[in-house]
Amino acid sequence: MRISFNWLKEFVDIPEGAQELANRFTNVGLAVDALETAGQDSVFDLDIATNRPDCLSHLGIAREVGAIYGSLLRTPKFALREAERRAQEVFSISIADPDLCARYCGRYIESVKIGPSPDGLKARLEALGVRSINNVADATNYVMLELGQPLHAFDADTLAGQQIIVRRADFEEKVTTLDGTERQLDPSMLVIADAKQAVAIAGIMGGAGTEITPSTKNVVLESANFDALSIRKTSRALGLSTEASYRFERGAEIEMARFACDRAAALIQELTGGRVYRDVIDVYPGEVKPRVATLRQSRIRKFLGAPVDDAVVECIFERLGFTTRKTDDGWSVQAPSHRVDISREEDLLEEIARHYGFDKFPATLPAWSGYGSALPFETEERLLRNRLAANGYSEVLAMAFSDEAAERKFRPDVEPVKLVNPMAENESVLRTSLVPSTLRTFQWNLNHGIRDLQLYELGKVYRNGGENRLLILAATGALRTKSVHEPERDFNFYDLKGEVEDILQTFDVRLTMDRKNLPPHYHPGRTARFGDVAVFGELHPEIADMFKLRQRIYVAELDVKMIFRSETRHLVEPIPRFPSIRRDLSLLLDKGILYEDVRAAVRKAGITDLIQIDPVDRLERGPFPETKYSLAISLIYQSNDRTLTDEEVDRFDRQILGLLEQQLGVQLRK
């Protein structure tokens, strides 16, 4: 709302300059977006809170200024000379839907001379961003800016049957508004109609057919009060927002309608020389009772944190136009009709806090006992994040919106949550998998010349009826770039697998790897899973291609909830007291035999003193048949109760070799 400093001064004495006043506005909750100089005047651009429609006018702001400085408010003075003839003789008003129109005031003005407004008035309107139209329209706009009451003027001679009917629109009813657009109406909308048809959309915009034109002779002036919610809905439905609808949808002051009607009629009379018929036709079906709330004196300290003197309290209310009456423990306070936001004690406490000054209350900390706590698994989550960072993974946070086709590709089993009103076609669902958004992150980085990446995201995926937090690890390019110290080394499948194993071990998740139900977005020969907890591998080259990623991509998807929830107790084992013996066996195997087969066969020997098996070398080609490969394994033996002898360990080795030969045809490499 744009407010003229000079105009304010017509209603209230202001002992300070515009800049000082701007600071005061800020302190009482009238947010100042800008303060501009306009000729001899200053213009404030105020951001008025939605609960304070009474501040959408110069009089309303002047009232706050009065309360700020303790200055007296001067309501606008005007002289209205009424003609002999009564308005009721020439037209009538009826409200068919009083639930949507609480009051309708109308006046009849005869023999107006339509023309431009005087320069002073024009300048004032234009400084406040309102275009000057003609003297009648300008008068209604002027009074709206002055008093906050939206008004409308009809060309009286275009109103069929000399009547105004306030009613809901009919099905399929249409009206062409002042902006020349034909509007399709429905019965949820309130219109102003004459005997034949709708002539205006109530509280929003007048109709073109009843507009004031240069040849208009007689005017019907409307000053009404419409239901806020109905106006808001109609305005939204029609996509039509005006100065009038802006005020009505926040709540206009019902008692202002009649005063504004007289004020505007007087101004029109002054500007056009028209004759104002006697009487306001004032249809006011149910008078609105004044709002009364009680304020207990003790509540001020209890609620605000410090007491405020009774005299100060009463003074604040008086300046704001409230009427107070002392009670046993405080006050009974009646709010003026323009304060539609006041209904209970807290509303009054707010007025005191605002005008006494927020800065006058001390800053204290709540007194309490008890303790604070983080979300469940926060410790685990922080451990995980620290581990990942230490191991080279950087955290990303991706948008939750995704492309439906992409999501269905990665999670064909999940019905994605669809947005009714997405911002863009490719952001129409919430992600069901962390993979596509991660691949888009890769895309972005690769496009910016960054080809070595190790990323993770701990983020939500969504489906109908639920949200779940997952972890994704993703890497591509070099694990180590070439440097003066070391050669380059690409990130590979086993780096990823190692990371997954580390995580599972950190959180005591004991699962064996398997290769069941592997998602098709992985390279079929380079993927595996640990139960339902983790699935990982190299991204399928076709998927990488689809995302225009021209290098190998490694991805692991983990369910952190399941990982953190692991019930395994972490118990420490004693450090062994007896030395261990290591034996290396160099084996020759048929291609196709997996390491896991070898391990299982070794395990089958059931040697309890065999505490560790590790593969230490693997040769695909060498001095052996092409159908074979060589695998060196190291075996570590250790007993809990004695030092093992070489003879014992030799026996173990032979036993293991025997089993390997028998089960897998493995030979010891000479």
Binding site: G29, R301, P366, G392, E395, L397, V420, H448
Partner: protein, 345 residues
Amino acid sequence: MSSNDGTGRLRAIEQKFNSELASVHDARSLEDIRTRYLSRKSGLLTTQLQNLGELPKDQRAEFGRVANQLKSKIEAALDTLQTTIFEREKQSALERETLDVTLPGNRRRIGHRHPLTIVWKEIEDIFISMGYTVEDGPEIESTYYNFDALNFPVGHPARDPRDTFYVGENMILRTHTSPVQVRTMEKVQPPVRIICPGRVFRRDAFDPTHSPMFHQVECLVVDEGITFSDLKGTLERFHKQFFGEKTKTRLRPSFFPFVEPGAEVDISCVFCDGSGCRVCKGTGWIEVMGAGMVHPNLYGFVNYDAEKYTGFAFGGGIDRYAMLKYNINDLQLFFQNEMRFLQQF
């Protein structure tokens, strides 16, 4: 052989030794000279002592004494030289191993935390230390929890599909984390003191200060005797902790449907310490939060006794705090996840 001859020989040996010793510079020639003079079988000095018997009896003692003296002298000189040479050789062995220590260290790649997580956790930790419990809730939320129970009237502009993402008739993507407050109050009676950090959604197109998805943290306290002063003190404490002790906090009256009195919270500009700069548009203040005393209507939704309990609530953008903390001027950087940005944290 006379004793004079004998001692003369010894003197000659000594002179010869001294002159030879001067050219000994390494362990090898040191060993050579030691052998030449002191070798048990053939050493120049040893053989003199071995030949003692050839001297007349009365001279033997004197010759022996002088010879032994010379022997000790030579031994001492050789030992001293040996120490020097060993020391020098150790030194040069180390010197040969000298590295170019100015080459950069061989650093492993370390990962970086996302700035929003850093700030998010920092905020959590401050409030946990002040006795708050962290709560979370669903991002796909009902209009009841997101609007109705927070005193947003039917028809409030925030409910408009132009501003809020709908996923069903009465289901939306939450526009703030306040629904968590309502859900918490439904579960427990006061005292309630929680913070709710989380992801929220509004239908804003991406630009440097807007994003359809961003992060908020909200705080709610409901207990007996909670005052507006407590709200002020808590906000002041939090901002001092987060931005530094010199940070000032100010509340300006404002309006939000779920609080009364409502306030906008400003902090003294973190870039100019309040003296006025481009970021704070010369005002010295930066708006960071909305706050206020919990509107009594809310207690009605969760069956709290509005007469017995009072409370405060506030909320702000985690993204905004991160932008202020790190001087980030474009919100989009948070979600592009470019390494050149992330590696700075």
